[in-house]
């Protein structure tokens, strides 16, 4: 599979990777080589770069996401530096692979804090990895900006040092989809989801939301995580089902879609899924023809739309993604477009927070969290290309628009954009009452 990255850490001295950063900072001779760069930030009170630890799923089950999270983050850091950095200081990214492994993730967070001495860590996606690493970040009193979608932040399971300002959580996404499903696709829904926590966010939150909009979930089919064949589960779908709601992740997704197509043939109910099922997968892959005419939730539309904003256009260009959501360097290298904007937006929230807090060094970490808690409304902009958002300082969770797209002629066309309010729910925690 082609993996040609469009932007590697080595491509820019503004945003070196961990190795490049250590090389640059460790070797005295490198200072002379980067003199023009230092000179640019000479006006800042401290010329030392701001160091952001990027916890990357470079290996393990999250690698496809990690690759694109890294590219997006590198592009954002490059753009931030080109515009003068943060508080007039250069930003460098220090990358560590956590292997998408909870144990390693906690170790990486320690390494960031005590060895790399970064100002903060960001970028973690998988929920179990966040759950393992966040307590360590809290103990080390290091801000931890996750880009995970998990409801763990807003549910109150984590701590005051952990925030999710760049991407909405699954609970919000699920709630925002109910009005569209009930109003446009059908009232009787059968849900198919993985039989573990990611699926449970859907299982628990979607039925009450459907009920509130006059619909009903008539069956819930949980697929064990080790399953490789799905035909036997399709037989459990009730005949009166009007809509199938599916969300699966992992390598078995293609088999799932193919078998679902074989099971239903031409007469199928409406099908609504979460793009997670086919994130980083080419929509025109063999076996996915069955998806034509079905609907997907997207965090950010993969295909450039007719009414594409200037913000999305600039963001695509900066990250190196074409109008089909694939790498400009390799059209077969499909991005995780629905999620990776979270890294871009998170980095701009970090910039905003650090500038509001007058951040100088690790001693100002608490001020940074307090400044982020105050952010509130976030208008769409080049910094926030996915759309307007509202950050809830109490729950440390951002809320935003969600997109529903229909597969038509092998691409995804947006047919519905939810309001921010569609995805809102009562606060479950107030982190601002917790001590640091």
């Amino acid at each position: 599979m082609p993996k040609t990255p469009i932007l590697r850490p080595e491509d820019t001295i503004h945003s070196p990777s961990r190795r490049a950063a250590l090389r640059t900072l460790g070797a005295g001779g490198a200072a002379a080589a980067t003199l023009p760069l230092w000179a640019r930030y000479a006006g800042a009170q401290s010329a030392a770069p701001i160091r952001l630890g990027f916890e990357m799923h470079a290996t393990g089950i999250g690698a496809a996401y990690g690759r694109w999270y890294e590219r997006t983050s590198i592009a954002a850091v490059k753009a931030i530096n080109a515009a003068g950095g943060i508080n007039g200081r250069e930003v460098v990214m220090v990358t560590e692979d956590d292997g998408t492994d909870p144990k390693r993730a906690a170790e990486v967070v320690e390494k960031f804090a005590t060895q790399h001495k970064v100002d903060l860590a960001f970028g973690t996606l998988f929920s179990n990895v966040v759950m393992a690493a966040a307590p360590r970040a809290g103990e080390l009193k290091m801000p931890y900006f996750v880009v995970s979608e998990g409801h763990h932040v807003a549910s109150g399971k984590l701590n005051r040092w952990t925030v999710q300002p760049g991407i909405t959580d699954v609970k919000s996404q699920v709630l925002a989809m109910a009005p569209f499903v009930a109003g446009n696709l059908g009232k009787k829904v059968t849900m198919i989801y993985p039989d573990y926590a990611f699926g449970y966010d859907h299982r628990d939150n979607f039925p009450p939301a459907m009920k509130a909009h006059g619909g009903e979930v008539i069956a819930q089919i949980a697929i064990p995580p080790t399953e490789t064949s799905f035909t036997k589960y399709f037989a459990k779908i009730p005949r009166e089902t009007e809509v199938i709601y599916h969300v699966l992740v992992g390598p078995a997704v293609l088999t799932f879609v193919k078998e679902m197509g074989e099971f239903f043939g031409p007469s199928r109910p409406e099908i609504f899924g979460f793009i997670d099922s086919i994130e980083a997968v080419d929509l025109n892959s063999p076996g996915l023809e069955f998806l034509e005419g079905t609907y997907f939730w997207e965090g950010n539309p993969r295909y450039a739309q007719k009414d594409q904003t200037a913000f999305d256009k600039a963001y695509r260009k900066a990250v190196g993604v074409d109008d089909n959501g694939a790498s400009v360097a390799d059209p077969k290298d499909v991005s995780t477009y629905a999620h990776m904007f979270g890294c871009w937006e998170t980095l701009y929230i970090i910039k905003q927070g650090m500038e509001a807090a007058g951040y100088k060094d690790a001693g100002d970490r608490q001020k940074l969290i307090e400044a982020v808690e105050e952010i509130g409304k976030i208008p769409a902009s080049d910094q926030h290309p996915q759309g307007d958002k509202v950050f809830n300082g109490k729950t440390h969770q951002v809320f935003g628009h969600q997109y529903v797209s229909k597969v038509a002629k092998g691409r995804l066309d947006v047919v519905h954009t939810s309001t921010i309010e569609d995805g809102m729910y009562p606060d479950e925690v107030d982190y601002t009452t917790q001590s640091f």
């Binding site: 005590t114 759950m131 393992a132």
Partner: protein
């Protein structure tokens, strides 16, 4: 005092001194390594000394971890009592698994233990209402206070890890110096002959599985309490392979081997990942080279070159 106790005591003393000298990052690493070394010590009792290769030790580690973490999460149990519950849970699980799995031998034993561990892992996912499923459970910092000592703080955590490691290390040394320990070694060398001499080898092997599971439970409970996270990923097959690797690298059938292997493996991964993004390849190559050129592991080489009577 006997030389072997002196040498192992010296290691513990060195680790105590390291508490005051190590830089912050390595201080944290050493705390983890010591807890995980308890897991490896347990594995060594079964694999290194008794000759039974289990592929299901993640189950015992997870039993200790969840046995401690769930009471803390669900009922607010204190860390002391929770730790005891975790160790007890692991002991009981090991006893039951051992009683069933020991009806088989060799490859079948490996497969049966692997299946038990896989069943345990899936059970943790399915009981997500209590176990937190794949996301796991975060044990709040406030809950990890033992007699007003904050176990989440760097210093107490290190010392607690050292106590756990010290107890496991000396216990395993005492076991292997005892009559029962020698019977285990006899079983490893020739089970038929041990049986012929009148030993109840099934009972002895069951004791080894149970003790091994208990050590793993100490590590699991300790890890959950000291590092604040209890998760199903620790019950995956990967965590059954790790102790095998640690013991093989460190030296199966040596008391120091599990610690040396765990330490070596940690820094191998950590250092290689600093040098290249293909660090897993580097780790694999190093493991192959070590297996080829030092089949007895680090401990085995020490025994061969420095101290032939090393336990």
């Amino acid at each position: 005092m006997r030389r072997d106790y002196l040498v192992h005591g010296a290691l513990l003393a060195a680790l105590l001194v390291a508490h005051f000298l190590l830089p912050a990052y390595h201080h944290g690493v050493m705390a983890r390594v010591m807890v995980l070394a308890c897991f490896a010590i347990g594995y060594n009792v079964l694999f290194g000394y008794t000759g039974l290769l289990s592929l299901g030790h993640a189950l015992f580690f997870a039993a200790g971890m969840y046995g401690a973490g769930m009471p803390m999460h669900l009922w607010g149990t204190g860390p002391g009592a929770a730790f005891a519950m975790g160790v007890l849970a692991a002991t009981l699980v090991a006893l039951v698994v051992g009683a069933l799995a020991l009806r088989t031998a060799g490859v079948a034993f490996m497969i049966v233990t692997l299946m038990f561990a896989q069943a345990g892992y899936l059970a943790l996912l399915l009981a997500s209402r209590w176990t937190g499923g794949d996301q796991g459970i975060v044990i709040a910092q406030a809950q990890r206070q033992l007699w007003s000592i904050d176990l989440s703080a760097e210093g107490p955590r290190y010392l607690a890890a050292l106590v756990l490691f010290g107890v496991c290390l000396i216990a395993s040394l005492a076991l292997m110096r005892s009559r029962r320990g020698r019977v285990l070694i006899a079983i490893r060398e020739n089970e038929e002959r041990a049986r012929l001499l009148g030993y109840d080898t099934f009972a002895m092997k069951l004791m080894a599985v149970t003790l091994s599971g208990t050590f793993a439970g100490v590590a699991g409970a300790g890890y959950g309490i000291l590092f604040g996270y209890v998760g199903a990923s620790f019950a995956t097959v990967q965590y059954s392979i790790y102790p095998l690797l640690w013991v093989l690298l460190g030296g199966a059938g040596t008391i120091l081997g599990p610690f040396l292997g765990t330490l070596f493996m940690y820094y191998l991964v950590d250092t290689a990942s600093d040098l290249t993004s293909a660090y897993l390849l580097v780790v694999g190559v190093v493991l192959i080279l070590l297996t080829l050129f030092a089949p007895g592991g680090i401990g085995g080489e020490l025994r061969r070159r420095l101290w032939r009577a090393m336990p």
